[in-house]
Structure formats: C-alpha cells, structure tokens
C-alpha cells in the first residue's frame, strides 16, 4: 500500500464539502417534487402490432418482452386478411413509461409494420375452453346458456364448453363453473381490433 492515492487520494473538496443539487428523480428517471413522490402505477392495456408474416417474428417479439422484463398477461398471433401479414395482440400491465417503451421497442423489430396501444373502446375478445366434472350436467348447461357458451363435448364424466367474451366475462364464467370442479382450462388470450372507422394498424403505402 505505497500508492499515494491510498493515503491521500486525489486533490479536491470532499463529497461533504460540495454544493448539492436540490431536485430528485424517481426510479423511472422522472424529475419529481421531493415532497410528493410520484411513481406511475402500472395499468393494464392492449397493444396491437401488425407484422410481416415471416418465420421467427413471434420469437423476436416474445424474446423482446422477456429480455426487457415487460410484464405481459397474454399474447396472441395469427393471420390477417393479407397472407403477408400477421397481427400480434398483447395484453400488458406496466406503468406508463413502460407502455411507451414497449411500443417503441416493438416498432424497432424489423418485421413490425405498425404498433399501437388500443383505446379503451376497442373491440376485444377472448375464447376459453373449460372442462368440468359432469356430475351435475343440467346445472353446467344452465351456466353455459347464461354466458352464451357452447357445449363442445358431453360425456358421462366430463363436459367441455366453449365461451367467448371480453376478459371480465370469461373470468366471471370460470368462477361460475368452479362449483362443478374444473378439470382443465385453455384460454386463447385476448385479441382485438380498434372500434369503428379507427384503424388498428396503419400500413404505409409502399408496403400495401
């Protein structure tokens, strides 16, 4: 330990003797009033991406979500009216800066044509297939009717039904079936389109 720095260090006023800034930022890098710490709470929203239909695009998108620790609830992908395009619908739960990042990072994925967060009035649907015990078939049927579902398979031991709806309705229906004993559930995750004349994705002319 003969180096000068070990004994004395570099010249200059010590940290405690320095002028200090008055402000502060929060964990999201946003300048805040130190009195009122303002963290953005997470919110749930639907992001829709129109992508070129090519191998690996789903892997790129899902890899992006896991690498950047974006919190996703569901992700669906399938064809569109154009064979060259697929639509990816993601339900995310993030604070606002995170939602902004998701959109921008998705936009950077090369085969992505357009990304947008859908408005609250977007038309969203999810499909669920539920398999329940068949001990009380009439009651199961009544619940299925009530949620405008369809019986796909009815046997002596199990009944399998299909329901579609928005997330809330699906959650409610599943709750209602619990009394019979749910054996298995498969949910598709939400898919969605913007309402009315609003375009879910805007495709630049040169890609049409």
């Amino acid at each position: 330990m003969s180096g000068r720095q070990d004994q004395e260090g570099l010249p200059g006023p010590a940290p405690t003797d320095r002028q200090r800034p008055t402000g502060r930022r929060n964990a999201q890098g946003i300048r805040i009033d130190p009195e009122a710490e303002a963290e953005h709470p997470p919110r749930r929203t639907v992001i829709s991406a129109l992508v070129e239909h090519e191998p690996g695009v789903l892997a790129r998108v899902s890899g992006l979500f896991s690498r950047r620790q974006f919190n996703i609830e569901s992700l669906t992908v399938a064809d569109t009216q154009n064979d060259d395009w697929a639509r990816i619908t993601v339900v995310v739960e993030e604070p606002d800066p995170g939602i902004d990042q998701i959109e921008k990072q998705l936009e950077k994925v090369v085969p992505v044509i357009h990304v947008r967060e859908l408005a609250d009035d977007a038309v969203t649907r999810e499909l669920v297939v539920v398999k329940v015990d068949a001990e009380r078939p009439h009651e199961v049927h009544a619940i299925t009717e009530m949620y405008s579902g369809k019986t796909l398979d009815a046997g002596p031991r199990t009944i399998t039904v299909e329901l579609t709806g928005d997330e809330q309705k699906i959650d409610d229906a599943i709750d209602a079936y619990r009394q019979f004993g749910i054996r298995e559930i498969a949910r598709t995750g939400q898919t969605a389109l913007a309402r009315g004349e609003t375009k879910t994705a805007v495709v630049p002319d040169h890609l049409k």
């Binding site: 000068r4 690996g56 044509i113």
Partner: protein, 624 residues
C-alpha cells in the same frame, strides 16, 4: 481502405515460418499451378457456375466492402471459396472468431462503415457472440456471416449445428437465415444496409451450406433496408423551438455528447453549438472524441470514473442537452440523483432511447448533426453562461486529474508529470508519455479494467473515431483484436496504440500472430499489475480486501511472449525507461508489445460507486 491488397512486406526481417511469399503471392501461385477449384465449379458447357456463395461475395463487393475478418471452417467453406476469386476484398485470417468480431467492430468504429466478420457454424458462430454483443451495446456497424449446416440437417442437432439466429436475436438489430441461393445475396445486402442505417448496429446472416453451394442466376443487389424500417432525420420545428427556448433561458446548461455524436458525424455541429453559445461539454465514454478535450469548454468524461468537474457540472446543471446517448448506468449512477435539477433536451435517432432511463422534457428524435444545427438556428438568444463557465473552470482547478506527485516536488511547484525516480511506474504517466509522443490522430484501443480508465482520463482526445473501446459490454480481450481492426481501417500515417491490462491481454493475445503475419504497425502497452486490477480495487473497497481470484501468482513475460509470436518485445520497469522505451516501441514498423511493470497499488479515481450520486464522487477510498 489503406492496406487494401498490400502484399505483406517482411523486408529483411525474419519471415514467419511457413510463409515464403506472403498471402497474395501464395494465392497467385495456386492460381497458376492448380485449377482444381475452378474446374470443380465449371458446368458441362464450360461456363463458371454462379452459386449462392458467389452472390454473397458479389453483394459484399456491391456494398463497397474491402475487408473481411474471419476464420475458416466446414460450413462456411463455399463462401471462402468464392472469396478466393474476389479482387476487391482482402481477407484477414484471425486466430479466434472473437478476434474477428472485435476487429470488424473496431473497423466499423474507425471507418463508420460496417465491418465484416465471418465464421463457420457451431463453435465458429458462438465464438463471434461476444463481439456481436459488444457491437450491439455500442451501436457499431457490423455484419457477421456465419456458416450453417445444410438446410435438410437443420433441427437435427447435426455436427456443428447451433441455432445462430436464435442465439443472436437479442444481440443484433436483426438477423437472417438464408433460405435460397436466389435470395441469399439480397439477404446479405439487406443485412449490410440495416447495420449501417439510422442507429448503427450488428446484423447476422446465417448461411446454410446447401444455400451457398446451390446454383443461381441472381445478380448482386444494392444494399437497401427493409420497407418496414425508417428513421426521422429532422425533429419537428415546434419541438426544436421549445427546446431552444429552454436552453436560452438556462443559467447552467451543459451539453452531454454521447457516442451518437461520433457515430452520427455530428462533432462539427456540436462544437459549433458549444462555442457559439458558450455551453460547457461533457461526454460519455463512447462520446470521447466528440469534443476536443483540450478546449476550454471541455469538461471531459462524466460518470463512474469521469472527471470531478464533469460530474459536478452534470450534477448541478439546470439544462442538460444530451445528444446521442442512452443514459447508461455507468454514466448516470443512481437515476434519482442524476442531473436532478435539469430540464433534459434529448436528441437521439432512436425513439426508444427517449425517456427510457431519464425522462426527456424535450425529446428531439432525429439525426444528431441535423437536430443540433436545427437547435442552433432556433436559439432566440444565447444563454447567459458567464458565471457558469467560470464555475466550471474553477472546478477544473479544484479537481485536477492527478497522480503521484512526490511531496518534495509538488511543494516547489514543479510539474506533476515529473515522476519520482524511486517509485514504481505510474500507469497514468505511461499514458501521458505515449500521448505526448504520438500525433493527435493516433487511435487508442483498450482492454477493460483500470488501464482502460487511465487511457480515458490521461490521454487528451481531440478527434472523433480515435477512441476505440468496449464501453457497454465491457469485454476484456477487446484490445489486441480491435487494434488490428483499427489498423486495417486507419490511414497509413495514423498510429494505432493499444493500452491493455495483463488480464485482458491474456484473453486475446493470440491475435498478435495476425499482426505479425500481416506486418501491422500496432503498439501494445500492457499495463501490468499482475492482477485483474479493477476487480482487486473493488475487493479492497467493497469486499473488505478479500482478494479472491484477482491476483496472479505468475504472469508471462509479455515482451518474451511477443517475441515468440514474432513481434518486437520491450519491458519497462523504471521511470527512467519510460520515455526512451516508448519512443523505441513506437518506432518499430510492425507489431510491438511493451510490458510495463506498473505500480500495482495504483487505483482509479475519481469514482462514483454503482448506483451512487455523481456529485458525490470519491477522490479516495475514504470517500466511498
């Protein structure tokens, strides 16, 4: 660019064994005496068949590529075979694929054009990964071409099969799996264009052997980015005006110049803005060279090992004009205390960088130079910075970068660079001595560790693209191969020096053989503290001095090692040797290695510990 096509000149010196005529001469002889390769490619009608591999090489030529760094291997052999016929492209045979990737990365850094590296499938491709990740973190333009097993074997865990596209997806701008000999040329052109476009970065094209061997009539295509990709050059006028207003109103504005200023060729615009409006400039580490460090307004690098004055300015500024930076945590420290009083104007070509780590009050997406010029034109008035600039100058005096001034000399006012005879050599003095002995346009490359930080702090960078380092990834082993890539890219009269640590040097020193074979003029200074010094510094500071696996009981004699490779070796043990040995090593016309025995107790300060407050930088361990 410069050494393009040059036949290595070994002069009267000893030739490396086995190389009687040098590479190109060898190729010539092969052409004259043995046409089997060509014969094999000729069809029944005697016409040379065009293959996917031909297409790959033609696409590279069409893109203006002059150099490929690579290593041969089974799955990539067809592409190498096509390269055999290329008049335009020089191949630099590296010792290890990691070296090829770092060399291509450095080539991209120095020229601004994508560097090309090439490797076989499986281990060849995985060996490239560190270099690709490095290029991704530092936004260096690079294209990696990897061999792949034939398409019909893909997915079968065939010999040397690795899912290269899968492995490299998170560390590339994009990557391509070539599916047909007819389109593989276009894949390469697209990958090249994308690597160079907007925010630069690495791309990969994976080349199954049947695709490169298959016949095709396809002609080379001009590089063009996919239709889904676009960048915004200019920021909206109203946003620019609002940002300009904020800057004009500021009392304590600072420009933070990031790597994007260098890569976006915006150094002139930033310099013009700073000097016209008297705004001090700090840089990030990749931003070194963006603003001349000998300028009055230069506060040099901010962040973990930045200067005290840069960190004071960043900490207290009321308006931070950040250009081409992603606000890496090594720069910001804890975001809660980063420039907490500042309105942030953030200029970046990548919209995803805006408000990613630090919220931008004035986001300006666009090309760095274009937007800075827009800002300059929109300034309603110059800010009144007289007091602030004076304050920054005061900090420069208060917090000098300093080392090892013996007490008897500092008292009588002699210059700090006059070292004491009786102390071990200070690494900072070596950096300063090499800086003084070389021209301003000298390119510096480094490994990663303390030596890298001393090379940042004690060298005065005045020109862009002269600082070549592994910033975001911090990859030890970057130094020697990047010196090779920089050498190929640099002008003939530009010097290339590398500051390496003994630990970093041991990771890729095998690439010295390349410098010897190709007679590349590089000078490597190994700042040898017989330790992975940066780790030891942290152990002493944060782990109660428990020096686990950080000190080497034995390191090779690097001068002797250099000689064994066929390079010139030097050793420095005393202060007295420094100037003369530095001169002698720099004078060598070819690769030279100087093993510098430095003071092993020397540490890097100032220091902002991870997540700390920039303004509270430590000047010694006591402050941590």
């Amino acid at each position: 660019m410069t050494e393009q096509g040059a036949v290595p000149d070994f002069g009267d010196s000893e030739r490396p064994p086995g190389d009687e005529q040098g590479d190109d001469a060898q190729r010539q002889t092969d052409d004259d005496t043995d046409c089997s390769a060509d014969a094999a490619e000729e069809g029944a009608d005697g016409e040379t068949k065009r293959t996917g591999a031909t297409s790959v090489v033609e696409s590279l030529e069409a893109a203006g590529v002059d150099t490929v760094f690579g290593v041969q291997g089974g799955a990539i052999m067809p592409v190498y075979d096509a390269l055999y016929d290329s008049e335009d492209i020089r191949h630099v045979t590296m010792a290890h694929e990691q070296g090829a990737a770092h060399a291509a990365d450095a080539y991209g850094m120095v020229t601004g054009d994508p560097g090309i590296c090439m490797a076989t499938s499986g281990p060849g491709a995985t060996n490239l990964v560190t270099g690709i990740a490095d290029a991704d973190m530092d936004s260096e333009p690079m294209v990696a071409l990897t061999g792949q097993v034939p398409t019909e074997l893909v997915g079968n865990d065939a010999f040397q099969e690795t899912d290269t596209v899968g492995v490299t997806t998170p560390i590339t701008k994009s990557n391509y799996f070539a599916s047909s000999p007819d389109t593989v040329g276009e894949d390469v052109s697209t990958a090249f264009a994308l690597a160079d476009h907007g925010r630069q970065g690495p791309t990969v094209v994976d080349l199954p052997k049947d695709v490169t061997q298959g016949e095709t009539d396809a002609e080379p295509s001009e590089p063009a980015v996919p239709g889904t990709v676009s960048v915004q050059e200019r920021a909206p006028t109203a946003d620019v005006a609002a940002a300009a207003e904020t800057i004009a109103d500021a009392d304590k504005p600072v420009i933070l110049a990031g790597g994007g200023v260098v890569k976006g060729e915006a150094t002139d615009e930033v310099r013009a803005f700073a000097t016209e409006f008297d705004v001090p400039v700090v840089t990030t580490m990749p931003g070194i060279g963006a603003f001349p460090e000998d300028h009055d307004l230069a506060l040099e690098m901010a962040g973990m090992h930045g200067t005290g004055y840069a960190n004071m300015a960043v900490s207290l500024t009321d308006c931070l004009v950040a250009v081409g930076t992603r606000f890496d945590d090594r720069l910001t420290g804890g975001v809660d205390s980063f420039a907490p009083d500042a309105e942030v104007v953030h200029v970046d070509i990548d919209p995803a960088e805006i408000s990613k780590n630090i919220e931008a009050d004035h986001p300006l997406v666009g090309d760095a130079g274009t937007v800075v010029e827009q800002l300059a034109d929109a300034m309603p008035a110059a800010p009144d910075t007289e007091d602030w600039v004076a304050q920054c100058q005061e900090w420069k005096v208060e917090y000098p970068l300093d080392y090892a001034v013996p007490s008897d000399q500092s008292d009588d006012g002699s210059t700090p660079s006059r070292p004491p005879e009786d102390e071990p050599v200070k690494p900072q003095y070596v950096v300063e001595t090499v800086d003084a002995a070389t021209d301003d346009d000298t390119i510096v490359t480094t490994g990663v560790g303390q030596h890298q930080m001393w090379a940042c702090q004690y060298w005065t960078y005045t020109e862009p693209r002269t600082w070549v380092s592994s910033h975001g990834l911090g990859a030890m082993g970057y130094g020697v191969p990047s010196a090779i890539g920089a050498r190929v890219a640099a002008d003939d009269d530009q010097s290339v020096v590398c500051f390496d640590g003994d630990g970093s040097f041991m990771m890729t020193c095998q690439e010295l053989v390349v410098a010897v074979r190709e007679q590349m003029d590089i000078t490597v200074f190994v700042l040898n503290n017989e330790a992975i010094g940066m780790v030891r510094q942290w152990q002493d500071a944060f782990f109660e001095g428990r020096r686990m696996a950080s000190e080497y009981p034995w390191v090779p004699k690097f001068d002797k090692l250099a000689e064994a490779f066929g390079a010139d070796g030097f050793r420095i043990e005393d202060y007295d040797d420094v100037p003369d040995t530095v001169e002698a090593a720099l004078a060598v016309d070819g690769p030279a290695v100087v093993d510098v025995y430095i003071d092993p107790t020397e540490e890097v300060y100032p220091m902002v510990p991870s997540g700390g407050d920039n303004g509270q930088f430590a000047l010694s361990r006591d402050h941590l």
